[in-house]
């Protein structure tokens, strides 16, 4: 049988704890710090392959394709050559999307936003990201990322799973599979999606946090800003904690009697998983409850933090998850797809995420967690240096561009205050230190102490891995 489990223990400890109906406050606080409660659940034997620099990852994914040319990769030449045609020597026959394929010309489009140096390192970042710019000394800005797809679905699937087509496990699932869980009361791969009616944008897909061909127990668990924080977590009105305990005790007794009869070890696992569900009913609401957060911390994330489901709130939750040892926290924020009206929409999007992203870095740092937490900020591709439609100084749009774009990384295992790679003067092609998405994935795994070539899963007669048969660790960005 292909039965897979969150954990292999018999759950003896659980039987003991349950006898003390309703855990006391001391026990509860204990329980919430996973590492204090029980030994971590092991991943694969032999992993990590080497000493990790980062214990966990927080990926702040900006879905839709944020414009690198207006945020992280300044191109003065576009200003001087405003509205000129993109030279063929730059385009090099590169395919472009169907949306602009029949455009009469590809007119160069400068950014209307200014860039300034940040921190002592002086990394130049757009005025749209003032808070991020202030933390420049913590960041490694990579300006030479490139991908293969030119449309959202395949590109975002590629970023998250290493393949443009559905069916492969997502990065978080790979990490969960390889490294296992380090908190007994929380899943190790948590997904937080921004909920914002004004920022709908491209559809996301559950496959982005799916487990592909890995056992489904490795898929990401979405923690939600509205309704039950985890699906079906909350008991209905009229079902108290004590009553649930009574029921759970009865179920466990009956399951044990059945185990005596049948001998199937799955039953023991079932008993243990039911106990974990019961614990999650306490640990997840505690996680989501910000009452204990000091005012200055809340303020640092910006006013949106008050709104459940906001990017700011999710950043703060990401820190709380990091504190509890959750291995992979994946955020999604949508609506960066600015084919038109970029001048108007991009500042709003930047405002949504800038302060909270920077606050997360600082908050982690203050708590001594940044060194062991790898933070990544970026989207599935960048945007074109030519306008979609006509070029204008003040109002414009840009099409998808996967040949070259930017993102930043910070924290565990990554050099601080540097810029890696460069694009040409148009921001169209990478001219220095190209970083392919597979390279990025290899690097992320490397920071976690995992050799991307050796984290494999046999499926359909073949050993699969996150980076397919590609990927090189970007050593230059490693601390």
């Amino acid at each position: 049988m292909s039965c897979h489990r969150y954990e292999q223990r018999t759950g003896r400890r659980d039987f003991l704890t349950r006898t003390g109906l309703g855990l006391g406050a001391a026990a509860l606080s204990h329980l919430l710090r996973g590492e204090a409660f029980a030994a971590p659940v092991a991943g694969l034997p032999g992993l990590p392959h080497f000493a990790p620099k980062a214990k966990r990852v927080i990926c702040l994914f900006q879905s839709g394709g944020p414009s690198h040319l207006d945020l992280l990769d300044e191109k003065p030449l576009l200003r001087t050559r405003f509205n000129e045609d993109l030279p063929d020597s730059v385009r090099q026959g590169q395919r472009i999307t169907g949306m602009v394929a029949s455009q009469a010309r590809l007119a160069l489009q400068p950014s209307k936003f200014d860039f300034k140096p940040g921190g002592t390192c002086g990394t130049r970042i757009s005025d749209l990201l003032p808070f991020t710019r202030e933390t420049a000394d913590e960041l490694c800005v990579i300006r030479s990322v490139h991908t293969e797809a030119i449309n959202h679905d395949p590109a975002i699937t590629f970023f998250q799973s290493g393949s443009q087509l559905p069916g492969r496990p997502s990065m978080g699932a790979w990490v969960d599979y390889g490294l296992g869980r380090s908190n007994e009361n929380l899943p190790s791969f948590v997904v937080l999606v921004s909920v914002n009616a004004k920022r709908a944008g491209q559809g996301l897909l559950a496959r982005l946090w799916g487990s592909g061909f890995l056992p489904s127990a490795h898929q990401g668990v979405q923690f939600r800003g509205a309704g039950d924080p985890v699906l079906y977590l909350n008991d209905p009105a009229g079902m108290t904690r004590e009553r649930r305990r009574t029921m759970l005790d009865g179920i466990a007794d009956l399951n044990r009697l059945q185990h005596v009869q049948s001998g199937d070890p799955e039953i023991e696992t079932r008993i243990a998983q039911f106990e974990m569900a019961y614990r999650m009913q306490a640990s997840v609401p505690e996680l989501m409850d910000l009452k204990g957060e000091p005012a200055h911390v809340l303020e640092s994330y910006g006013p949106d933090v008050a709104a459940p489901g906001s990017f700011a709130r999710n950043c703060l939750l990401a820190r709380r998850l990091a504190e509890r040892g959750v291995r992979f926290v994946q955020l999604y924020h949508r609506d960066w797809d600015h084919h038109g009206g970029l001048h108007e929409h991009l500042p709003n999007l930047a405002r949504d995420v800038d302060q909270a992203s920077a606050a997360l870095i600082r908050d982690l740092k203050q708590r001594g967690l940044l060194d062991e937490t790898l933070v990544i900020w970026g989207g599935e591709f960048g945007r074109t240096p030519y306008a979609q439609g006509d070029a204008h100084r003040d109002r414009y749009g840009r099409d998808h561009h996967g040949r070259a774009f930017s993102l930043w990384m910070a924290g565990g295992g990554i050099k601080r205050g540097i810029v890696h790679g460069a694009t040409d003067d148009f921001g169209f092609n990478v001219v220095e230190n190209p970083v392919h998405i597979h390279d990025l994935q290899a690097t992320i795994l490397h920071c976690l102490g995992v050799d991307h070539e050796r984290l494999t899963f046999r499926f359909q007669g073949r050993q699969y891995r996150l980076t397919d048969v590609h990927g090189k660790v970007v050593k230059a960005v490693l601390a």
Binding site: M1, L165, G203, A237, G238, M247, E266, R462
Partner: protein, 1052 residues
Amino acid sequence: MCDDTAMVPPRSRLRFAAGLLAGAAAAAGAVPDFNREIRPILSENCFACHGQDAARREGKLRLDEREGAVAARDGIAAVVPGRPEESELLRRMLSADPTEVMPPPEAHKTVTPPQREKLRAWIAAGAPYARHWAFVPPQAEPPPAVRLQSWSRQSLDRFVLARLEAEGLGPSPETPPAAWLRRAAFDLTGLPPNPAEIDAFVADVRARGEAAYAAAADRLLASPHFGERQAIEWLDAARYADTHGFNNDSTRTMWRWRDWVIDAFNADLPYDRFITEQLAGDLLPKPTLEQRIATGFGRNHVINSEGGIIDEEYRVEYVADRVRTLSTAWLGLTMECARCHDHKFDPISQKDYYRLAAFFNNVPEFGEDGRVANAVPMLPSPTQAQQRALRDLESRLAEAERAAAAAAERAPQSPAEAAISAAIAAARSKADGLGGCALLESESAGPGVAGGMWRPTADGGTTRIEGSTLDFAGKAGVTVAFWLRPDPENPADVPLLSALNHVGSPADSQYGKGRELRLIDGELELRLSERFPVYAVVVRSEGAGIVPGDWRHVAVSYAGGKSAAAVRMFVDGREVATRTIHDGLPGEPPRRDFLVGADNAPSGRRWRGSFDELQGFARALAADEIRALYAAAAWPAARQARATGNPGARATAWWQDALVAAAPEAAAAWAHRERLAGERFALRRSLPTTMVMAEMAQPRAAHVLRRGQYDAPGEAVDAGVPEALLAPWPAGAPRNRLGLAQWLTQPGHPLTARVVVNRFWAQLFGTGLVKTLEDFGSQSEWPSDPALLDHLATEFVAGGWSTKRFLRAVVLSSAYRQTSAVSPALLARDPENRLLARGPRVRLPAELIRDQALAVSGLLVPELGGPSVFPYQPEKLYEGIVVGANYPGTKWEESAGAGRYRRSLYTFWKRTVPHPAMTTFDAPDREFCTVRRARTNTPLQALALWNEPGYFEAARRLGVRMLQTGGPDDAARAAWGFRVATGRVPRPEETAVLVRSWQALRRDYAADPDGAAKLLQVGAAAPEPGLPAVEQAAAAAVASMLLSLDETITKN
């Protein structure tokens, strides 16, 4: 291909998987079997660089063929038969030099010392090769001799038992009749037996013994729920869903295909037909509607509607998906590997892949389609009930037609002038009252009789009609009506009224936006389009019969709503049939002025002929109103033409219409005919469509695509199959999908039957005889019992590919009837039950866990088929995830009533966010073919069982049933509920646990009546009147415990 210059027979029978069991290691000194022991070592460690992929082959050495392995180059051979010490293969494996050692360090692969020993023994024995077992057709072999003669009930039992005896094991005791019935019921119908059924069966077993089992199996096989149960696995393999996938993920309509699957299993459609109709039903001689619907199998793949994608890239992807599905579901091969390069492990070249793909390359489809509705090609697919209604309407219509004709004949041929005038006056008065807006200067006396009609100007200047006068975006719809007469030199495809942009290319964002009415080969075609042709409503008449030189009255009405069903067409006041070509208009196109008799296409085909009385109406006119428009002009014209003495056929026909209108009896008969005709058209327009396969008249050229890329065509290929590897092309078979189906279903095919029976076996026993249901290639695991697999495969084919017959034999077998209880010793020896020394015990699939809860609570609505339904789903599940556009399928609108309680295979399946009650229990997202689900055991499953409203509502209803029918006291009621949930009478200590919990919960709720009342609000079912809330709440909690038991959610 893989040669067998080898010296051993293709393979030895009755050899078992090495290493499966501790005691099964090959005896020292024996020659290792190539397929079982040597090929896996070479395949895993060597073939990636020294296999059949010529492009990646290192050092020109290939080890997958004996010829290559033993060939000496520079005096060195990888394998020197009989001389291991001279064989480079072994020397390199033992080398300590990192530049020399094989496999190289960067491969991260190791050949273990025992494996090296095997290689040594194999080379010493002459290094015999053999074909991979799965590529050799299965042979029917007589069942082996066994010692325990009395045990076997079915021939398959002899194989199972022989294996056990060879292992020194015995079978487990038989499971009690009630346990067998529950197990078989889940496997055959997916629904648990109720206590009465169990009692009847147990009594029958006492009375009739074995015959009772056969009768029960036959009853389950005959249940209409059989088809539902068998469909579940197939829907995964066929990647069935109710949405298109990708990030728009809007609704598609494929449930008619899903119902075809259920019907096919219920009718026990032979499996070779099951394959043939799904692959090529459209290519069968005179295909039935059902056979064409079956081909929806080839269209179940995801379809991308993201703006700006490159069409060809995705069209190629759909072809690849069909190859992947075919090869996974029926060949058990990973053909996909050969898409970009020659397969590294199996002898399948990249060319083989593209030859197979060529069968699926000729579908008249688009890469980008399906933004709001089905993607072409599609087919109106009436349900059985609709087909009956249509047939009924058609026979009544034929009757009415006859009656109307007879009445028309009886009508006076020379009626009083007054009667005719009155009919004309009535028509004119009605027509005048319709509020039409004259769009062109026209002549009021009738069609073209006395000048004044509109003709294109000689200088080619265009006439425009203001867009607002024909407002297709209006709420009440629109009607356009006019007279037309094509000139003899009028082109075959010509615009009548056009506001559609033909300039640019389909890649242009403004291309194909607008609306137009065209005349194509004498038929009318209305196009309402955001991007022609896929994001459009395109409706064409069938039988309009508009010919040059003839005046006809044309009316097209559109009731709004961006739907093809809203379009009706009329010629000379009679509605004509229509055909929907596209039905996927996402939004309203921009309003533009209509060009009359012209469009803006650069090619500039222009209308040659006359128009008259062009009128617009700001609503969809009714049939009788349109008839009045026609009559008001046609009948006076006919009267006038008659006066000339030579009226011609057309005017004579109009005059006949006038005569009918003037005779009350004939007019009534005509009106009756009209009403029925209208009903028939309305029903036809409302029929659901299904996406189907079709062939282009001119096949697309097929090529090898270099590195698998859509824009890198290489060598041209014809359609074909890996004949040398698997099976010859059947003589006389056509080179199309039908021939492909014939190839696949020929009795001598080595894979098809094996793959299918292995999947059935896994469904019943939890694990396949080949564990990798999706891969029978050389990297697959050796079958746990090759002889049994071949026996099952050959029996299946010999039994006419009958699924029911096959499953009947298995559920009645002694192997299946064993208890699943396992001793620690047996568990340690065979944790996965590969030897079948016990019965299956596996957690139920997602669908069946929920179906059971609905069944035991009495909530289940056991209706078969129909559109998918929307049971409870967490609010805001889609928030932050689904596309920010109002496409169909972006909102979950919960079903009222029965839709909440249908079996789970009818739950609306949205690929990007499938129902969490399904995915939590390991259902796949159905983005591609899946034939094996994981079976996990997670805390999220516990939460779903406790708190998913459907489960808790089921617990509430089960609680009420326990209170009402369970017996006089807690113990009796608990025992009754336990039996309903698990199919077995509880032991006293189990009843005691339930009673203890029940009493504690009752005490607790008695102290908190508010809490009890609140608990009863979960789900739509009202609390049971007449039962105290406290009692109901406590019973609901106990029932929830029962529904959460491991035993309840397990097939035991």
